[in-house]
Symmetry: C2
Subunit: 134 residues, 2 copies
Amino acid sequence: MSTRVHPGLLEAIRFNADGLVPAIAQQHGTGEVLMMAWMNRDAVVETLETGRVCYWSRSRGGPWRKGESSGQVQTLVELRLDCDGDTLLLLVDQKGVACHTGRRNCFYRAARDGELVTIAEVAIPPTELYGSGF
Amino acid sequence: MSTRVHPGLLEAIRFNADGLVPAIAQQHGTGEVLMMAWMNRDAVVETLETGRVCYWSRSRGGPWRKGESSGQVQTLVELRLDCDGDTLLLLVDQKGVACHTGRRNCFYRAARDGELVTIAEVAIPPTELYGSGF
């Protein structure tokens, strides 16, 4: 995919005071919500132009090309924008696992009877994703 | 539903500097992502205790009991928390439509060939949801 991004699309996105917009990643086809992360303007453009999902890492303060170190890349299927322009929904094809814990998605803790319980197992150990230095 | 919320659950949520956490609402069963909004601590507690989804309205600066004026309530099925504790996923049963535009979900604009196009029709006119004063 190599899409030229029209200026009107970027103007419709309401980035926050830090220049960021939240982006929900959802597995295309199954509807599984994989994760939520943040994008700046450059990350949106790169994602649309390359078809590979790139976020903005708030902790590192730089672009976060999903899967760059773990190999668990996200291929963009479609980018959607909500009614007030301040949240993105990314339909993606997730290779392997989305979560750094090695689970398929990040939402593996559920409130049951008022307490958090773990509802998903690790699919790929983090040592396999990031090496033994993890 | 009337669930007593254990302190450990609230301590696991990392609210931002404004005391808020983003919450993604997903239709239980179909997987449709309906909307994203924000919750403060009280909204999380009220939602878990009552089983009716309550957000925090950043524009009004007060609790936003979803459907209070429109009748389009969200019933909580399950609340989930992500790996780093800073995003909630709410599995809900959405009555009618989630979006104030009268569409089923808020993500009705999609990037196609670099431009935004509308991909969902209005299901219930806003005048029916909010009266003719809308």
